[in-house]
Symmetry: D2
């Protein structure tokens, strides 16, 4: 129940560049229910001329006539866009974001181009030099739980990777409180297959995914340095993690099960008190007694977290679950955009998940 | 995008009787995003004292402290309820609805008790006499596409069965136009397992459902007379159908594939024109060129319909897909309630589905 | 339990042409447990040089070193093959089968090239002229339940389509007994996605299939004339069917729910007696009281069938379930090959399904 | 392909006590294809009088008339059983095994009663005193990869827990070689839901499991001491592990992803050489380059293992995948029984998995 009082105002004009992928479709789903933002442009070069309704029948009712347009320079000006979301492959956003920044109020990138602060780290993990390294410092990392204040004045926002949001929200309060050793951390995580995107590949075919559970990206997944960057930021010293992602036979959802050594005597209760202190005022992060379940967050912006201390082996286990396409991507981008535009932070973001 | 202009007003107070089942959970999900309706009571005798958040972690953020209460007589008065949804097993609603009608503005029943207009038909299919047959005439059938006008002044609303809504929306315009023979109709349908409810049974265990496709309720499913009642209503003469439901290995969604003989020469094009004429002004029913897909409607109020005429065999095939818990149950109930309360008919009802 | 008494003998040498697809993988799975047949060659042009174990890790233990070879003319002679299975796309087998027939004892085609007896029907449904129409009469249709005697001396075997086997086994005994009208028959069926093959396509991506149920091939699926050919054969007069396939979110399995009008008074009991008379001596077809479930046949050669007569609407409903890759494709091919080679008909064919 | 030469012999008579659960059904599936073992008795008190075919339609063809019988003392003698499998809940087997041992050649228990060698450990983890602690030393642990020699003369065999087999096969060779620290080991694993058994519970309902990934049994899962017992055995010193099981939305399959610290410089290559040395002569364990996939083992006895050394963080990651009901339970029991009875160790055990 939301008792709403709105005054009449002009809708903010929104464009989505690279809208034909899953993050684009999720943005369109969320924006269909957002009272203040109006989608006036959706580009998708490979789908140019196709209607949104034919590529995503789930959006047929909400966007009966919207067509994917080709990307052209100057589109922000041409369409009078106030807000642009970029859902392009890594390496591509950095080519067009400088131009977009000149023609609009806020640019929210959903890719990897502006997440890492260190251009050398970027080139090391992504295999090419960053073309606009000067923008890395300017970009605000789109995780409100860590950077809400900076987001309020952001012009360029870098939406975190889906695994990164999950692992960060599980571990950050405990590291910020100095409770965990900063080396030897393991992030063992599983994701639904939508994280792999819309392109048809043998590895995301139904027959390959269904009834299967398998690890991938062993030792070298690109979300690793981003997790470390966040955790180093909150810990105030270098944090190192081993990250092992797995593919689970489901559409959406990420669970991160994280293992770390405590720096001092810890109990399950003391760990959860730290989580409560960090999150009880957050609109979308909930500390749970039970192990977080991905399905509890399906289709919603909610994040469920918890932690355990094992008296027998000494390990601390911290866990978080969220929907990789909502809070882990498009919903995270929208929450940050709401903040940067001065709208209600939670506007248009479902708090209740789809169940069953 | 919805540009909203609201004036301040008191929220309508809502109670859900029998809220612990899946239709209750879906109502709670939808009402969490409804700006005009406030849930003040949720009963569930078997779960009394349990929090909503523990039974449905997906609702933890939206209802952090709501507990299932036991049902007690007079609760509508006691809690000042304007609107009551009843999600009780068939045979149970009829015991309490008369009392509820005295204490509140609108009662929306989600069960089977007030769907059939003929008390003898009810007792024949449900195995016991109806205790308040006099209310059957008063109850308005909660399918806005057929009874929008009556719903505007309804005090008691009977929400259709999920299969019934699906089959009715596929066939009704064609029968109303006199294009189909009224006997020999086959409704072959498949549903996700949430239609079977929350109670754990061997037949809805994951290992029984996953990787399985199977028919059930052969020849005698209770939605049969209700489909016939609707189609008879629009056809103006007795309609008879054979209904075969199947269980598909998925959570939500119903597809009805309906076969009928044409009364006159028909083409796929002519059939679709009739569907367009019936539905183009409807907010949630969309006529599609492609076969309707359940996933296109997941989590939304949308219904996708289409029809084909086969020149080779003479058959007409009419199809509809929807989400059995949203448009097929709780969303249907809410759409009707919106109408009866004079609220915007589409308020709080997602038009965009969850994809992927 | 099989109490086996074998004498020493030379293994029959088997080649699979077009082995890299799903029917090839299923053949390799079954042949791994066949005591009399030895796979000495598996071709797959697009995978030439790849090991079977890397493309199908499920076969790593059974075929640790087998590599897909390129197809070359004369391979049957070169490798001394006694038996060749062809798993090539339609239109391709007919190019090479004549050559193979000269170099080996038995050729079993798993594609569509030799299923239809009428070359004009073939060209009408497949869009090109048949290049060796003279072989159509020679080819024996690989459905032992209908053509066991002919298979015993077959040199060229055409394995039925998966939907065709299912619908034929459901309806054939009833039509052979003259119990059903031969027009107005509806075959409404659902299949797991493995029927669409190994190639990655947007329509068989996990995110497109999972939680989805949808019809396809409306009015014009190519299995239609093949179903009609079989049923016409047993009925002794032209049979016409409308066939509507659906895609269910599962790996394997087909259920056909078939609707027909009776020619005379029929009861559920009388229909089942006919089924029992037809199938009680069959090794793999079982008449069931309960609606057949695809999962009951998973990974096995078993077929479950049943029938109902509806006294209210007059419809007869006949149903069959099987595993589309086992009995519906590779297992069917192997059963026919066993017969043609004079081996035990059931050898190497699992009768028990994988459950749960 | 197996070129088989058998001489005529009497089948070994087999009884399954507690056959109505999933491990019983899997035993029946495997035994249906075993040439030397004949099932003459299957007990299941809660299902007594029910046919196997009605409870498990997948077994209808293999066991058309077998009924579950009630358990009665002396059944081994009465039915002349050579081999008895016990699939009873923990705490129950120990009541009847002493009696069975007197009447039959080999007893294979699939439950937990005879796995732990230390009766105090048993009572600590299972909450009651062991009633026949003297048998714990006599019982041979049914993991041929570790105890093949002892199994050859075993009379009582304790089949390992499913997670235990998985974790043990991943880690044992590395610990036996002294390559890993014996504390701080993490076993993070995921299983399909069949591991939870046949009883219908809210937690194994389709709607609870599908599209969900969640941990359970945090810090205290009963397979923990059993993993430690095995690893301590091979390491020659106390090994301690933290074990975190997860439930994945699939029927079958377990993947264990294990983290440990190396005792000396290790490379991925050096670790795999150790695995190859341990497993290359094993009939069912395969060392893979790629991360093991549960689906590669579906329905088969195969186990896929691998290991990685991470130069950046120092962690060793060892992984294994298998089918929890086949190698992880009933297939493991049958492999051990084959050894104890002097049959071919691999007889009746599928090496090729079901794919897709």
């Amino acid at each position: 129940m939301q008792l709403a009082v709105y005054s009449l105002r002009m809708a903010t004009r929104v464009g989505i560049v690279g809208a034909s992928g899953f993050t684009g479709a999720e943005l369109l789903r969320l924006l269909a229910g957002h009272p203040d933002l109006e989608v006036v442009l959706a580009t998708g070069d490979s789908q140019a001329g196709t209607t949104v309704a034919s590529l995503y029948p789930s959006l047929a009712g909400a966007y009966p006539s919207l067509e994917f347009a080709p990307y052209v320079d100057g589109l922000a000006d041409e369409h009078g866009l106030d807000l642009v979301f970029c859902g392009l492959p890594h390496g591509t956003s950095q080519e067009i974001v400088p131009g977009l920044l000149n023609g609009t109020r806020v640019v929210v990138d959903l890719g990897a181009d502006f997440r890492l602060k260190d251009a050398d780290l970027y080139s090391g993990w992504y295999g090419h030099e960053h073309t606009v390294p000067g923008l890395l410092a300017e970009a605000v990392y789109g995780l409100p739980e860590l950077f809400r204040e900076e987001l309020a004045t952001a012009k360029l926002i870098a939406t975190p990777g889906c695994y990164v949001t999950t692992a960060t929200l599980a571990l950050a309060p405990l590291l910020a409180a100095g409770l965990l050793e900063t080396t030897g951390i393991v992030v063992d995580a599983a994701s639904g297959v939508s994280g792999a995107g819309r392109a048809a590949k043998p590895t995301n075919a139904f027959n390959a995914v269904d009834e299967n559970f398998v690890a991938y990206g062993m030792l070298n997944h690109r979300h690793t340095p981003e997790i470390e960057q966040n955790l180093t930021h909150v810990a105030g010293r270098d944090v190192q993690v081993l990250f092992t992602p797995h593919l689970a036979p489901m559409n959406r959802g990420i669970l991160a099960t994280c293992y770390a050594r405590p720096t001092q005597a810890a109990t399950t209760e003391s760990l959860r008190q730290v989580l409560h202190a960090a999150y009880d005022a957050e609109p979308f992060v909930f500390v749970r007694h039970e192990p977080p379940s991905t399905k509890a967050t399906l289709g919603s912006q909610s994040v469920h977290v918890t932690a355990y201390a094992d008296p027998r082996t000494g390990w601390v286990v911290a866990m978080a679950a969220l929907d990789n396409l909502t809070k882990g991507a498009s919903g995270g981008a929208l929450q940050s955009a709401n903040i940067a535009l001065g709208l209600g932070e939670t506007t248009g973001l479902p708090i209740a998940g789809l169940y069953p």
